[in-house]
């Protein structure tokens, strides 16, 4: 199985290297769909320049990366392209290993249930054969590495790739059952972009399931394990934040990174839902609506945790999708991460009713983004409404896709 993976990796690296050398790289790096104010490479370079001059990189309003990222690139700026390619490859390998392990668990469970004769007779089609499952990890790696969204994100040197990598390693650690590493990577992911905080619930549920600890509020072992995982997570978060403080010797990065994410001051158009709404709104309502918009990311965690407590990995997928739809500065790189998980649930596709229409919506929107941007910004014959209309359509496409996956999960369970 390693040989095809190596082939995929080689193909992906070739494509990226070729694109880095082409004239398209500049064009892609300027696209608002690919680079947001949070993760644009231009801003990293600006931050590095400020740091070299001995000024705090956060003193301007440009730089919103975390201190660890800036120190990473402080040493690796010469090899930035290499770093981004390696990050993508590492993400894919981590996802590959994680899904391989996950499939083993699913297969064991399936076998046990068949032996116990728990399945209804007409679900035979839904049971995954080892043959089908054999290729799923490879498909996941392929979906991540050769997804045009990932490729563009990598060519634009958006630091989103690094966030994705951290989340992939967090998933790997969770599936391997290492509570400590899982907590550390989750803390890193939270530190990087805040929203992965909501992945805490699925990770905890998965670890509990793995330890065969029943999820009951009265059970003592449940609370013990939860406390253990929470404290691991919080401790590592505190350590990382303190480390950042000592690196720069100031707390400037807290408002500059997390304040920036939460209060959404930069209304550059992107593929998300925030910019148009807040550009149109009276200033004095903005606090209220910021709360309303931001709560979307966190709000669904609780009902999903109750509903999907038996399927924490699916919960993880849905939560990743919700983050990438509702976060304040989404880019196509975020979407690529949850799209990579689609092959894992390929057996649900027979329930997916409008998958063709929805895929068409996403493809058409991806092409219409630059067209309408051109009409708005360069030709001047369209305006922001045109672009936002496509943003809305794109997000409706994503939401209904996730909603259908969720419904199918339910109907598959009932079946």
């Amino acid at each position: 199985m390693a040989a095809p993976l190596v082939l995929v990796v080689l193909a992906a690296v070739t494509v990226r290297a070729a694109l880095y050398r082409s004239s398209l790289a500049v064009f892609i790096a300027e696209r608002v769909e690919v680079a947001s104010p949070l993760n644009a490479w231009k801003r990293v370079v600006e931050g590095l320049a400020l740091l070299d001059l001995g000024v705090s990189p956060y003193s301007g309003a440009i730089f919103h990366e975390t201190p660890l990222i800036i120190y990473l690139f402080h040493f690796l700026i010469e090899y930035a392209e290499l770093v981004f390619m390696i990050t993508d490859v590492l993400t894919a390998v981590a996802l590959y290993l994680a899904i391989q392990d996950f499939n083993k668990v699913v297969f064991k469970k399936q076998k046990l249930l068949i032996e116990l004769d728990k399945y209804a007779p007409d679900v035979a089609e839904l049971i995954q054969t080892p043959m089908e499952m054999h290729y799923i990890p490879l498909k996941v790696a392929l979906f991540y590495l050769l997804n045009p969204y990932t490729v563009m994100s990598c060519v634009a040197k958006s630091t989103c790739a690094i966030n994705n990598s951290v989340i992939a390693f967090f998933i790997l650690a969770t599936i391997k059952g290492s509570a400590f590493l899982s907590a550390v990577f989750l803390a890193l992911a939270t530190y990087q972009s805040l929203y992965p905080l909501t992945l805490f619930a699925p990770a905890l549920l998965y670890l509990l399931q793995r330890q065969f600890i029943p999820i009951k509020l009265k059970s003592k072992s449940f609370w013990l394990y939860t406390m253990q995982y929470t404290s691991l997570y919080l401790c590592s978060l505190v350590v990382i934040i303190c480390l950042s403080f000592f690196l720069l010797n100031s707390w400037d990065f807290i408002p500059s990174v997390y304040g920036f994410i939460l209060s959404v001051p930069d209304l550059t158009p992107n593929i998300g839902l925030f910019w148009y709404f807040f550009a149109e709104m009276f200033e004095h309502f903005s606090l209220f609506f910021v709360c309303v918009f931001q709560i979307n990311v966190f709000f669904y965690t609780i009902p999903l945790a109750i509903k999907l407590k038996e399927h924490p990995m699916f919960f993880m997928f849905v939560q990743l999708a919700i983050i990438s739809i509702f976060k304040s500065y989404p880019t196509v790189g975020d979407i690529a991460l949850y799209m990579a998980f689609l092959p894992v649930w390929s057996h649900l596709y027979r329930f997916l009713r409008n998958i063709f229409i929805l895929s068409c919506v996403l493809i058409f929107c991806s092409f219409l983004f630059p067209v309408l941007w051109h009409l708005w910004i360069y030709a001047g014959s369209a305006n922001s409404n045109f672009y936002y209309a496509i943003t809305l359509t794109f997000n409706i496409g994503q939401v209904s896709r996730v909603r259908q996956m969720k419904e199918n999960r339910d109907s598959a369970k009932r079946g």
Binding site: Y349, R350, F351, R353, F356, I363, L368, H374, S381
Partner: protein
């Protein structure tokens, strides 16, 4: 979403679509066409939206005629003496008129010789004078452009420009700088000047450092006069890639024509007599057709066309001497327009940017023509995809029951449901790769390979490019045979999936084009949609093959040339049309290299591969 999520409803909808597929396709196609033909009747009158230009009255005081004539004669003499644009005389005259004068030399080597204009290595100089606004800082500017072509044309326009500059210098009310620009080698000079002024280099133009600037240009007028005597003015609106100026600029010009009793034409056509029936309709439709053809071609309709890309609203006015009774003076109209534009408080944005013109006084806005596009482009592909192409809605939905053998969809769905259908899609890779490769070859080879071609064949470079283009185009059509020899197809499911992909690509292309350049999208849709709907392998291939060949983008271009001559009421024979077609191919390629037009890459990399995929479907084994 209820309609599509409820299985019962969905099934009924699917059946309905499959059963009514053909009538629905025909109906939507015909309704789209009919809507387009009705457009001249739906066009309301134009009106000026911009307040700053509407309410203020301007009384023009200039009488430039005699002075313009004298200056034009002088200019003509100096020009003949120098054999090119008399830079020093022009600079001197402008300086004496009190302008700040600069000149910009430029040079450009064309990718291959331009036979229509007989040029290859181009060297020229643009001369321009800036009249600084006495009442404001130099933050905004207006521009008058006179392209100075070869052969003594347009001398009168230079005279008029100089006379107008002299008159404007004496006025005190200017709040925007006025730029008076004389360019050499028409479009090339304009391109060089625009790139220099905005400090960018979009094409391989070589020009020195740009000498002097005024403010951001708000509006520009280009002037072409063919003789001293002026009986009517033709106005050109289409810009590069079908971009159009804000309708208010045209409205402004039209209101001045009205005021000064100037006779104006659009596309060389007089305004049709009012009243929607009879000859008025035919004339409107003809004007509309010419505008659609011109916009679809993507070539600028005049030197103003290059300004639009820099977000400068611009028009070209062509003075025409058609030996009528009335003679006009354009000077007062130009002065009036500049004075009104001088009152602008913000850039022109109130009126329409996306419109079609059946006559100068009437317009069809995007809201009216969108249904024509909707009928043709948005409705047809989804129905095709859902129905005829092989029930793509159900492609990934094998739970769909086939219990009822009499249902009309069963024969279409069967190949998708059979157990063999669960194969890979590898057999689709060769046709797609080959179609894409043929498109890339068509795009890259003619210009890059001209040196090789001239070595091996006894043809000139320009001919080599055009002939290579045609050669590669035709050779691409022979490809399906070789692809199938290499790989056996996937049977019925194979061609259906291939057709589905071709339709998706076509729909994507047409959707994007309908937004970027409506006319081009519409024409491609009108020609490509019927064969795309009808194409299928097996049976009698001849009529379908004929239909496909007739609608191939290359032949559509030839038809467009014929149609244009027909609409201009100067029908061309096949021989002349062929010459014009060859010229259009060469010019199309040149436009891309000289001005960055998007037509040839779009056709080579978009429409042609799409069409080749359909061609592949036809010859699927």
């Amino acid at each position: 979403m209820g309609l599509l999520s409820d299985p019962q409803c969905r099934r009924a909808l699917g059946r309905l679509l499959l059963r009514l597929n053909t009538p629905l396709c025909v109906l939507s196609y015909l309704s789209g066409l009919a809507w387009f033909l009705l457009l001249p009747l739906l066009a309301p009158r134009t009106y000026l939206s911009e307040n700053a230009m509407g309410s203020t009255m301007v009384g023009e005081g200039s009488d430039l005629g005699p002075r313009a004539l004298a200056l034009a004669r002088d200019f003509g003499e100096h020009r003949r003496r120098e054999g090119g644009i008399p830079v020093s005389w022009l600079s001197h005259t402008m300086f004496q008129l009190g302008l700040e004068v600069h000149s910009q030399p430029f040079a450009r080597t064309l990718p291959f010789p331009d036979e229509a204009h007989e040029r290859y290595l181009v060297r020229g100089t643009n001369v321009f004078g800036v009249l600084r606004a006495p009442r404001a800082a130099s933050t905004e500017a207006l521009l008058l452009l006179v392209p100075c072509c070869e052969g003594g044309k347009n001398e009168q326009a230079v005279g008029l420009l100089l006379a107008l500059a002299g008159y404007c210098r004496g006025q005190i009310y200017w709040a925007k700088d006025l730029i008076f620009l004389v360019t050499e080698h028409d479009l090339l000079g304009t391109q060089a000047w625009l790139e220099g002024y905005h400090g960018v280099n979009l094409t391989a133009m070589q020009s020195g450092p740009f000498p002097g600037r005024a403010g951001a240009i708000q509006a520009a007028l280009a002037l072409e006069l063919s003789s001293d005597v002026l009986t009517s003015v033709d106005v050109a609106v289409e810009g590069l890639d079908g971009q159009l100026p804000n309708l208010d600029l045209l409205n402004l010009f039209q209101s001045f024509c009205h005021k000064n009793g100037l006779l104006c034409t659009l596309q060389g056509k007089l305004p049709p007599p009012e009243g929607p029936s009879g000859p008025g309709y035919a004339q409107s439709l003809r004007t509309l057709g010419l505008m659609v053809l011109g916009q679809a071609g993507g070539a600028p309709g005049g030197p103003h066309g290059l300004f639009l890309r820099f977000r400068i609203e611009a028009l070209t006015l062509r003075g025409i001497n058609s030996f009528r009774q009335h003679k006009f003076d354009l000077g007062a109209t130009l002065e009036g327009m500049f004075r009104k534009l001088n009152n602008l408080l913000e850039r022109l944005h109130q009126s329409y940017f996306l419109y079609l013109l059946p006559s100068l006084a009437r317009f069809v806005s995007i809201g009216s023509y969108a249904p024509a596009r909707g009928g043709l482009l948005y409705l047809v592909p989804p129905i095709l995809i859902s129905g005829g192409a092989g029930a793509a809605l159900y492609l990934w939905d094998p739970l769909y029951p086939i219990s009822d053998p009499k249902s009309p969809c069963t024969p279409i769905l069967t190949p998708f449901l059979s157990p063999q259908a669960r194969g890979g899609l590898l057999y689709l890779v060769p046709p797609i790769l080959i179609s894409g490769g043929a498109g890339a070859a068509l795009y890259l080879l003619p210009v890059r390979g001209q040196a090789v071609a001239t070595q091996h064949f006894p043809v000139g470079e320009a001919e080599a490019v055009v002939l290579a283009l045609i050669g590669i185009y035709v050779a691409g059509m022979a490809l399906p045979h070789s692809t199938h020899r290499a790989l056996s197809g996937g049977g019925q499911r194979g061609w259906m999936t291939l057709k589905l992909l071709a339709l998706l690509a076509l729909a994507l292309l047409l959707t994007c084009l309908a937004l970027l350049n409506f006319s081009l999208g519409f024409l491609l849709g009108v020609t490509l949609v019927p064969p795309a709907a009808a194409v299928r392998p097996g049976g009698n291939r001849l009529p379908l093959a004929l239909l496909l060949v007739l609608t191939t983008p290359g032949l559509s271009l030839f038809m467009a040339v014929l149609l244009e001559r027909e609409l201009l009421e100067a029908p061309a024979g096949l021989g002349e049309a062929w010459q014009r077609f060859l010229g259009a191919l060469g010019q199309g390629l040149l436009q891309e290299h000289l001005h960055g037009a998007h037509l040839s890459p779009l056709l080579c990399l978009g429409a042609y591969p799409c069409w080749l995929l359909l061609w592949n479907v036809l010859f699927w084994k």
